[in-house]
Symmetry: C2
């Protein structure tokens, strides 16, 4: 060791401490640290912007991306933390923070190999997912990994490796029962909020269904977003366990129970990129089901020209992949292919979808028949798969339980255990788009509809979204309402409307049909 | 239009103005705007973190990524701009800034199509590159595009479309001459700094060679980084033109002449990701050569097990692609495959490489013979391809011009015109790694060597890098120096040394050879 190395060693011990300071900057989920260019740490360590640094305070370490600052608002002796860095480091204001180079990320070489078209195995996916779950990947690294696995770039063996790696970094709930049912919808269909109906129906029939749901990734509302309008969903595992023990079921946000820490991190980049991947979808869904302690899982696969799954062929291929990987990790996977040609129910967006759900549960005149029928079909499958109804007898039982109010009572009990049933918020800014001509509705573009609902503010603004007034095959007159945009802020209403006006018509009205 | 829409229109006119404020936050090149969560714009427009927003001041507009802030250091009525947002918006402190939703980025659907494995055509690449050049892509979008095109995912037609799209968004210099020569090295070989020798040799023989070079993307030094140690390289087009008119050549940074605005933006994400793509490499190189007004281009393709091009087969494939695309856009492309088994010269890193270049130009005893020979070979090719020497006579002419001092005089003239020859900086913190045993050097891992040089601070710290003391085939004794790490900061020296110690040996010493 040379004289310089001894000096370097000393620097490492003493010279690299700053004081923790909360900047209040929301960088979404990527941890960022702000340090003055002329602070002692940047000078001695040679740090520049975009460097990945390790922050250590009170024995806890995180990796963050550095932004160097020239500006008096940041003191020379502080490490300014973004909100996510502040939360994950858990430091006290003014507490000493040691700042060092982040350890080299060797698993990135596997990501690079995947980008270049090579196949990865258990060890490589294990290394990548373990680094992802530990927060060692920057958003750029995550974007590269997700893109490299997107489309159909993961084969069966790779999808299984990824699934196992994602299960390995999380916890797994043991319910002490031989049969725990679950469902998942592959999505892409606005308003398809059947979970909020299926869970109360099947738990009212004695099955156990501890449902963890996701927030929206690329859609205007995830099931967790919609449920949150009606009851708290940010439960931890002990609270979730209490709700399930008392009611047989729950509908909580999977991110708060943190059963799939890697998945929660990947989702933060999938959302702004609006990318899906078959392999990642399978790994994400099945690792969460395994972690939640499920044994029997029904997968709803809506198929339609503008849904996520666009053909019966694609549904069969995805379904087979789900069953193969499920079998390899000890999950029995059942499939139900459903019609995905148009939105389900009337509302798109958290509050508008929740309103439809309540109407079905309460059997009111406004209850959308399609949402009710889809939920009954899926509940019937689960009742039969779980042995609560004889083969072919599921639909009759599900229909009775919904009609006689047992499902509504069960839903209220679940909401109450999760923290209390809430009343629905309403949007203040509305605009109705009318039919330009007279004719029949021959096509509805789900993707444009979902994008317009997102531009109107959904799901961040829970009352925002779209109310759909016409369905496929309906006859409409010129000037008749097709759909209404709901927004909580005037700027968002204007933005969504501008989008709708600039695109091809979302509803195709044909005169001679 | 409803009452709400009129209200939205009014808000858009008046309510969305904040005052420009320079935060001094360096976010590398991504423009970021910091706004208080409770500011009037966030409240009226419903903006949340990660939103892409359009900022307009004095008729100039940019798109930036929003970070929402809860914190008193940022005033309620300001739009806090990152350094890159501040520079590109060009606002005055306190100037009103209008903040609106960024227009929807329709070209992202093409990126998504490419991610899912579809081929893109002229129109799609044109739309993507035009949005990239206009700064409408976030770093996450750029990472997705780059990953989707990485490896060999672009076919010939797509590579040509991308090249044409990149040329279309930039300027093209017209030198008014039928023959303008250029060279490019595909890279991956530390220390291969032949450009600084080739330009003075061939311009001393009367050819015109206006060389724009890049900064390091994934290497410890780019040609522009090395040249910058010796003379200013941040010239604009008129200054570059003046240098070339007076001396016949130049060596400037391509990013400052801004001939390839899209390429300059893509590189900002390629660097942290350490990703290369054949299609993007071809498009990047050839679009820059076309923009610089070159007509005849020599491509140096170093081949070696740990170089960027690893086999003669890969070199032939890449070379063919460069010639095909070059031909289609009117560039004559010549190839020279060179040995890429070990670093060139002794130094790795801007200042250490510049020192080697000066030794060759001045013919001193320390001049690395391999660097000298490689440069003479390439200069000879260019002299013949440009008609300054008869076929087979290039090497003799190049050798004479270097030996008699004309090349050194020309290099000084070019440096002087670019702003003056500078003296070399030296690193303060050194550590020499010695051979663990006695034997012959049978393998040198260029990739690990380059990574260690980067961890030591190169190229951001110009004096940082590695001095290599042994070459392939050399016999070394135990304890004999193999290489010396140079760093400007003690932390960086420690970090690089830690890396070297944790990896397999960079130099393989075999006893029985």
């Amino acid at each position: 060791m040379t004289a310089q190395m001894h000096e370097a060693g000393r620097t490492k011990e003493a010279g690299n401490r700053l004081q923790a300071w909360r900047t209040g900057i929301d960088t979404y989920q990527e941890p960022v640290v702000y340090m003055r260019r002329d602070c002692p740490v940047c000078r001695s360590e040679g740090f520049t912007t975009q460097a990945r640094v390790q922050l250590t305070a009170g024995g806890r370490s995180i990796v963050a991306t550095l932004s160097v600052v020239d500006g008096d608002w940041l003191a020379e002796n502080v490490a300014g933390l973004s909100e996510s860095a502040w939360a994950s480091l858990g430091a006290q204001p003014g507490e000493p923070v040691a700042v060092t180079h982040a350890p080299p990320l060797d698993s990135l070489s596997h990501v690079r190999a995947k980008v270049y078209g090579n196949s990865l195995g258990d060890a490589q996916f294990g290394a990548i997912i373990s680094d992802v779950a530990a927060g060692r990947y920057s958003d750029l690294h995550l974007a590269t990994f997700i893109t490299a696995c997107a489309g159909d770039r993961l084969d069966l063996a790779e999808t299984l490796s990824l699934t196992k790696a994602m299960i390995a970094v999380g916890d797994r709930i043991d319910w002490g029962r031989p049969l725990v049912v679950d469902k998942h919808c592959v999505g892409g269909l606005p308003g398809n909020r059947t979970t909020l109906l299926v869970v109360p129906i099947v738990t009212a029939c004695g099955l156990m269904m501890p449902k963890t749901s996701s927030r929206a990734i690329t859609s205007p509302a995830g099931t967790a977003d919609t449920m949150e309008v009606l009851a708290p969903v940010n439960l931890d595992v002990p609270s979730m366990r209490r709700v399930v023990e008392r009611t047989g079921g729950c509908i909580v946000w999977g991110g708060s129970v943190r059963l799939s820490p890697a998945d929660d991190i990947l989702i933060r980049v999938e959302r702004p990129l609006d990318l899906d991947s078959e392999g990642q979808l399978v790994a994400s869904v099945l690792s969460k089901k395994a972690a939640a302690g499920s044994t029997h899982v029904l997968i709803d696969l809506p198929v339609g020209a503008t849904a996520k799954v666009r053909s019966a062929h694609a549904a069969a291929s995805l379904g087979r992949r789900l069953q193969e990987v499920g079998g390899a990790i000890g999950l029995q996977v059942f499939l139900r292919v459903t019609d995905g040609e148009q939105p389900v129910g009337r509302g798109i967006g958290p509050a508008l979808e929740a309103r439809d759900v309540l109407a079905v549960l309460q059997g009111t005149r406004e209850a959308p028949a399609d949402l009710r029928e889809r939920a009954l079909r899926l509940a019937a499958d689960i009742l039969e798969m779980g042995g609560a109804a004889p083969a072919g007898g599921g639909l009759k039982l599900a229909t009775e339980v919904l009609a006689d109010g047992r499902a509504w009572a069960k839903f209220q009990a679940i909401c109450s255990e999760q923290g209390g049933l809430r009343s629905l918020p309403m949007a203040a800014h509305l605009h109705t788009v009318e039919s330009p001509g007279t004719g029949r509705v021959t096509r509805i573009d789900n993707r444009l509809l979902a994008r317009a609902a997102k531009l109107a503010g959904a799901p961040t603004a829970p009352a925002a979204g779209i109310d759909v007034h016409a369905r496929l095959g309906d006859r409409v007159e010129a000037g008749q309402p097709l759909f209404t945009l709901h927004a909580q802020a005037p700027g968002e209403l204007a933005y969504a409307l501008e989008f709708v006006r600039a695109r091809p018509p979302i509803f195709q009205i044909s005169e001679n049909v």
